[in-house]
Amino acid sequence: MSPFTRRDVLRAAGTVAVVGAATASVGAPSALSAPVTAGPFRHGVASGDPLPGGVLLWTRVTPSNESLPGSGAGPEVTVTWEVSNSPEFRRIVSRGSTATGPWRDHTVKVDATGLEPATTYWYRFRMGKVVSPVGRTRTAPASGAPVDGLRIGVVSCANLQAGWFSSYRHLAAHPDLDLVLHLGDYLYEYAPGEYQARDVVVRPHDPAIEMTVLEHYRRRHAQYKQDADLQALHAVAPFVVTWDDHESANDAWSGGAENHTEGTEGAWQARRAAAQQAYAEWMPVRYDAGGQLYRRLTFGSLASLSMLDLRTYRDEQASGPTDPAVDDPARSITGEAQMDWLLNGLSSQDAQWKLVGNPVMITPIRFPSTLSTAELGAMQQLLGTTTIDGVPYNVDQWDGYAADQSRVLRHLRDRAISDTVFLTGDIHSGWACDLPADPATYPVNGNSVGVELVCTSVTSDNLDDILRVPPRTASLSVESAFKANNPQVKYLDFDSHGYSVLNVTPAGLRMDWYVLTERTDPRSTVARSQSWQVAAGTQKVTPAGGQA
């Protein structure tokens, strides 16, 4: 879509070192965790999409040596599941059994129902006499019920080749997570050497080629699911997920992707169908292949969570920020049906906080005019776009679909919808932004119609990696220029990797950003770097002090 694509940048980067390729087996365990590396339940357990009366439970079984992910081989087997209100399983409150086999890559996904709202449960699977690891999950509060608080882990952009998933491990250690929100790029499509940690492949992808067909997508999911830190996080809280582009291919849109060559890499529709089938099989999500991913969950009267799909229905990206297509009202990032669904959901008065799981940024951002040539080049690489002063800086985001962006922000303003929070990933950087009611008067009156909070990447490259400088050095001037040119941006960190924790209460919400000391170190420590809050009814982000 642009003259400078991520793939171009990678090719231009020259030699790529593959660290650990010879020593790290597929799914090499973290040095700090005890993963399930063998046996029928080697891909761990997970839960997702909690409702007041039930939750999805997931696992994958390997019943025989030939039942390898993507193989299409192996026997049909019956897997039973149990849910208890105690970790010792003293009383089973729900149980059942289901069949799986090679037709669904031996994955298991069941809807455990008949559960109590706002209740913590433990679950496990059995295949024959083999028992899976135990997972912990939690149901959503009852519809309309008062809720004192909700604690949500927020993550995105986890490239296994770019580092270790220490973010997941540290997030799993946070107490009382109600759920984990994964905003996309749960896995990456690239072959070893195509996209990693600067020039270093920390852990090579399996299969060792770009994933384009069902077998590839299944094997790649399986590789990620064998990561010990990811397994640990899945085991402590239900996930609510959406995909961004890399679950299929970079900069995907309804008819193709930047990282897809029609013909050479097959037909896009077939490739996307394969990606979606593997996603439906391997993720704890209420989604069937080819169906509708966008959906809404509610958490009593406190919050709704609208999960967007911004890849399946979007028109092709504009060629650049000055392309008139950016402003074409006929182009959409959501598609008409999803847009109507989103606007209706935002208007709903059933829940106080309208949280939106938003794969790409919606805050209008304009390029500063003060960046150096090197900084502009680095931004090109990070964003995969051309850079022209004073114009939208990333046409893969909502900025590239100005009509849809305006429609959402205008809807919030016209209807005076309060407490709307876009929770976003994709951009490998941390942001806290107001959403200006009117860009022309915002610098004077500060009127905002909502906020956007962006978590950074678990491992994927960001600005300092592209500039090849130490973190928090050269990027600082770029961040300052962005904030000066975009007063709605209150916090911006272009360098760090990590995760966020969102605490939601009736009085307000607070996001804490945690950053890793070193993503390529499996023992990386983590520290809280920033905290921002949104008081109820204000639609504005402000710095938060005190303890997380």
């Binding site: 008065q349 106080q352 016209d414 005076a416 309060s418 109820a536 009814g537």
Partner: protein, 435 residues
């Protein structure tokens, strides 16, 4: 009593006007006399009640936006909010105008049951556009009357003339707003607060229903509304001081510990620039056949449209009007008033504008004021329940979406009243109270 002393409150005289009402002149702070009226036989020197007595004060800060209550700008209101139970998701209800929302507060019923959907309507029987400011316009029993019937006493201290008009003599004790600011038709908050204090001192009603109009009136006229909001900000600070006066007075007179304050707005405020004006009359000018058969009742951010042509062409005519009006870039929606439970008094169509726009009919210069309400952008309101009564839950923030219509049910809950015939349309915000 020395009615010239700035430190003296007290009765100056009581007159009986035959059997219709009593008139009390009360010496207020600052030396002015407050004129209160009372129902026949109402006592002026009410003995103090038992300690468990509840005094309820509904303070409507007219037109206040929820984000305008801040520790810096309105410290007394902010402190009051922080020491009680607050509902940050609270909303006004259509039409987001003063009269219908005050009526919803005191009835707990939607306009299709009260007969009061807007400030201004087209009265088909009289063939005129007029404010709904007559006591007979309100056809649903208010919590005021029902409390009176239960043996309690009530008071109304309403700063706007049309509010005084529609609530009339329903309350045990009334204050007719004075002095009236020309054009705005309201009494300044300082005078209104004098009256509240005088009424509490003179009659000590169980319920006082109060409207403070300065914030709204300064909002309407604030030419810097889209940016600095200079006049509005000054009014907020001033009104906050008046609320502080009231709190201090309740404390000084020993009433605070039995007081419950329900503070809210009837609607908020939105500002537009002179070019963002919608004239439905102008839109219809190219279709004189339609224009001549439609009457417009203008309500700031909402226009009520009444079909006056032949019944046979009503549906097709309204469909065309709706289509033409909806096509204007400043129009947010054109709806059937029944979909908003507005009742027949609201006419045949309701058009609402987008944020940053206003209606102006019949001419684009007819509505010159920058601050308006009535459209959905003006729904968010502050709504909190506070006070010194131990029944108030302190420091609570609730996700419940309180609405103006919840006031009567909440007062009913507080005073142990049954719902009116047919029930409330609102919800008692019992989460604000212990026990």
């Amino acid at each position: 009593m020395n009615n010239t002393s700035s430190s003296v409150n007290g009765p100056l005289s009581v007159n009986q006007e035959a059997t219709r009402r009593q008139i009390l002149r009360w010496g207020a702070m600052g030396g002015a006399a407050v004129i209160l009226s009372g129902a026949p036989g109402a006592a002026w020197a009410k003995p103090k009640g038992p300690q468990e007595r509840v005094r309820a004060y509904v303070l409507v800060v007219d037109g206040c936006r929820p984000d305008e209550i801040t520790p810096a700008l309105t410290p007394r209101l902010a402190a009051l909010r922080g020491s009680g139970t607050t509902y940050p998701a609270a909303r006004s209800l259509p039409v987001m105008e003063t009269i219908p929302n005050h009526v919803m507060m005191m009835t707990g019923a939607r306009p299709d049951r009260t007969g009061v959907p807007a400030n201004k309507i087209y009265d088909r029987a009289e063939g005129v556009q007029r404010d709904l400011d007559r006591p007979t316009d309100l056809r649903f029993p208010t919590i005021i009357e029902r409390l009176n019937q239960a043996g309690r006493t009530t008071g109304t201290v309403l700063s706007k003339e049309y509010l005084y008009g529609i609530f009339g003599e329903r309350a045990t004790y009334r204050w007719e707003p004075a002095p009236i600011v020309p054009v705005s038709g309201h009494a300044p908050d300082a005078a209104t607060m004098d009256a509240i204090i005088a009424m509490v001192d003179a009659a000590d009603p169980d319920l006082v229903f109060t409207n403070l109009g300065d914030v709204d009136r300064m909002g309407h006229s604030d030419l810097s509304g889209t940016t600095l909001q200079a006049a509005r900000t000054a009014a907020l600070a001033s009104t906050d001081r008046q609320v502080g006066r009231f709190i201090d007075h309740l404390t000084a007179t020993g009433k605070w510990d039995t007081s419950v304050l329900l503070v809210l707005a009837d609607h908020s405020m939105d500002w537009s620039i002179p070019t963002n004006v919608i004239s439905v009359d102008l839109i219809l000018r190219e279709r004189e056949d339609l224009r001549s058969q439609v009457v417009i009742a203008q309500n700031g951010g909402a226009d009520l449209l009444y079909w006056t042509g032949p019944a046979a062409s009503r549906d097709s005519g309204l469909a065309e009007v709706s289509s033409l009006v909806a096509a204007h870039p400043g129009v947010l929606a054109v709806a059937d008033p029944s979909s908003l439970r507005l009742g027949p008094e609201a006419g045949d169509l309701i058009a609402t504008c987008r944020a940053g726009w206003r209606f102006s009919d019949p001419y684009v210069v007819s509505n010159p004021i920058p601050g308006n309400h009535g459209h959905p952008a003006t729904e968010p309101i502050p709504f909190f329940i506070s006070g010194g009564s131990p029944r108030v839950r302190a420091g609570v923030v609730s996700s419940e979406q309180a609405r103006t219509i919840d006031v009567a049910p909440t007062l009913g809950f507080l005073f142990g009243m049954n719902a009116p015939a047919g029930g409330y349309d609102g919800t008692a915000r019992s989460s604000a109270f212990t026990g």
